[in-house]
């Protein structure tokens, strides 16, 4: 029905669509769109060929691969443990629950450099945890594995905090109904509980992934910053800036932005699909 699609403004008892929408767009422009568009404007100053040469260099491609792969891995791992954490916090009551609940936000409050330094000390070959893995031939600090650990740390709260309220408001009767119908606990979990949590999980994943992509402070310390091996894109951009190659830096930034935006858009579509399945007419 095209007429329905064209109708942007819906009747509401609260007036002020014009002013609220206008203000939102202004704010979005000032805070997001204009700064972001500067990236494209700056990078375009070097011309197509130079732009292409910069962004298709082996070092840049390797850094993009590392950035996206480690961020994806960190977000995926956070989904599994984030759901587990939210589950434990909502479904069980135990002494110290409130304390653990408060600790979850700590990675947000901590300066990322502090996180990077302490993680490096722990996971380096002579650190407490690194010492355990070193004899097994597993190096953690100064490898992509170290980057993943730093990214897990800084993006940990997202999935917990998005899944927790959904789990809290979830109707326990649906689970009881499932068990009356003969479903095992496992079946109840993945057929009844998980689909209900899916939109929140996807949101948490998207937030964690986006946060991990932009992370810089903690990774610098633990990754060792070896080009082609543990050099992430934000660091490469910074390196270019230090060499006064502003156009080159923004060119890489532009590519990263486009990829990130495409992925986030895709995640949003996925989330819309997950959230609207049961409401579509």
């Amino acid at each position: 029905m095209p007429s329905k699609l064209l109708k942007i403004r819906q009747h509401s008892v609260i007036p002020g669509f014009g002013i609220t929408m206008g203000f939102s767009l202004l704010y979005l422009s000032l805070m997001v769109l204009i700064p972001v568009s500067m990236v494209f404007l700056n990078s375009s100053s070097i011309g197509m060929t130079a732009f292409w040469e910069t962004v298709s260099s082996e070092r840049v491609l390797a850094s993009l691969k590392i950035s996206f792969a480690t961020s994806f891995a960190a977000a995926a791992i956070n989904v599994i443990f984030g759901v587990l954490f939210a589950w434990v916090l909502v479904r069980y009551s135990f002494p110290g629950r409130k304390l653990i609940d408060g600790l979850i936000d700590l990675p947000f409050a901590l300066p990322t450099a502090v996180a990077g330094i302490s993680l490096t000390t722990l996971y380096a070959e002579n650190g407490w945890i690194g010492k355990v893995f070193a004899p097994l031939g597993i190096k953690i600090a100064y490898t992509p594995l170290g980057i993943i650990i730093a990214l897990i740390f800084i993006s940990f709260p997202f999935v917990v905090r998005t899944v927790q309220p959904v789990l809290e408001s979830m109707d326990i009767e649906a689970e009881e109904a499932a068990s009356c119908l003969g479903a095992s606990k496992l079946q109840t979990f993945y057929k009844v509980i998980l689909p209900t949590l899916l939109p929140a999980i996807i949101t948490g994943f998207a937030l964690a992934f986006a946060r991990a992509l932009g992370e810089y402070g903690s990774v610098v310390f633990i990754s060792g910053n070896m080009p082609m091996y543990t050099e992430i894109t934000p660091l490469l951009i910074r390196a270019k800036l230090e060499q006064y190659d502003y156009a080159g830096a923004t060119a890489i930034a532009a590519v990263m932005l486009v990829i990130s935006f495409t992925m986030l858009l895709f995640i949003n579509v996925l989330q819309w699909w997950a959230g609207n399945r049961d409401r579509s007419v």
């Binding site: 109707d171 009767e173 649906a174 009881e176 109904a177 499932a178 068990s179 009356c180 119908l181 003969g182 479903a183 095992s184 079946q187 057929k191 009844v192 689909p195 209900t196 399945r277 049961d278 409401r279 579509s280 007419v281």
Partner: protein, 357 residues
């Protein structure tokens, strides 16, 4: 399948939800658990389903002890007050759920599941809504789907927790008639919880009246309505008028009215309360010298074949309700603020020391 509940106790903290409950339900019966909120009726139902564990006592299905069995293994159908449908599944998927989660050895073929779901959809008269989601259905439709879902696994016992409680009056009446019909066609042992006495009287073969975790009375609707064992049951099943009086020389004295009561004749000079239903109140316009109770009409509601009168006794100031037929109402030419005389035609006497309301 028969259900036997023996000596079940359940407490939530210091609150005793159920207190030594003994109950036997025979195969194919439709039983109502009736009681006010907090009487323990839902707790009892949930204990039968295994959703709650009893502190003591046992639940026996067909002679087999099920007390330790999990809900999953009890094979009961349970219908929740707020439907508890799976929101992310279509109507079809909801009904098929119980069959699809069976272990592969016991799971019917895809065609068999489809056939079963179609059969149930036609039973609840909702064939054309198979692909809808629960959010797109009305309350009555959701509850019918919930019922179809529970029936899909062919349970031997059907338990319904205030199944029509969240629905409006008209839908409620339709659905309970439909449930009665369904039960007559598929006589599966059913227990339903309700706080609505009209619903219980209308649908059930037998009514179990609960109050404060105890069974007050059990019996057919006629038995419990006509012969309430105590003031609580009397009060709970329909409107009732209270008359305070004394027993004296084998007669009850209420104001100037004297009535025979053989069953309490020996309890002389005692305070009593007699109970009478509004339709058992006789009204006359003139004092016929038999010691009728004088009263004044406060309000008349003349809807349908029965006329409801609200009265105030002029001797004691107590408020009373009476129901008379429309013909009688016209005959007497009653109007508001009129002085009338009344007498309970049928009543029961309880001695307050025995029962506290």
């Amino acid at each position: 399948m028969s259900i036997e509940v023996t000596n079940v106790n359940k407490a939530f903290g210091s609150f005793k939800a159920l207190n030594h409950i003994d109950l036997k339900i025979s195969t194919g019966e439709l039983v109502a658990l009736l009681g006010p909120s907090g009487s323990g009726k839902t707790t009892l139902l949930r204990i039968i389903a295994g959703l709650e564990t009893a502190d003591a006592g046992s639940i026996i299905f067909d002679g087999e002890d099920n007390t330790e069995k999990s809900t999953q293994d009890r094979k009961v159908g349970f219908v929740f007050q707020h439907y508890a449908l799976f929101r992310h599944m279509t109507v079809f998927e909801n009904i098929a759920f119980g069959l699809k989660v069976r272990p592969s050895k016991l799971r019917p073929s895809k065609e068999a599941i489809n056939g079963k779901v179609r059969e149930l959809l036609s039973l609840v008269k909702m064939e054309e809504l198979a692909q809808r989601y629960p959010a797109q259905l009305s309350g009555g439709q959701r509850q019918r789907i919930a019922l179809a879902r529970a029936l899909a696994v062919e349970p031997k016992v059907l338990l319904l927790d205030e199944p029509f409680g969240a629905l409006d009056a008209k839908v409620r009446k339709d659905l309970r008639r439909w449930l009665r019909k369904l039960h007559d066609e598929y006589p599966i042992t059913s227990v339903f919880v309700t706080h609505d006495q009209e619903e219980a009287l209308d649908v059930a073969d037998r009514i179990v009246i609960l109050n404060q975790g105890k069974i007050e009375q059990m019996g057919t609707p006629e038995e419990v309505y006509d012969n309430p064992v105590n003031p609580f049951v009397y009060n709970f099943l329909g409107n009732v008028n209270l008359f305070h009086g004394r027993v004296h020389n084998g007669k009850v004295e209420i104001g100037s009215l004297k009535l025979d009561i053989p069953e309490h004749a020996k309890k002389d000079n005692k305070e009593i309360v007699s109970y009478s239903r509004p339709h058992d109140i006789e009204i006359s316009v003139e004092d016929e010298g038999k010691g009728f109770i004088p009263a004044e009409i406060l309000f008349i509601r003349a809807l349908g074949p029965v006329v409801n009168l609200e009265l105030k006794r002029t001797d004691s100031g107590d408020y009373l309700e009476a129901e008379i037929s429309k013909e009688r109402f016209k005959e007497l030419e009653l109007h508001e603020k009129q002085k009338v005389y009344l007498r309970p035609k049928d009543f029961r006497v309880f001695i307050p020391e025995d029962y506290v309301i």
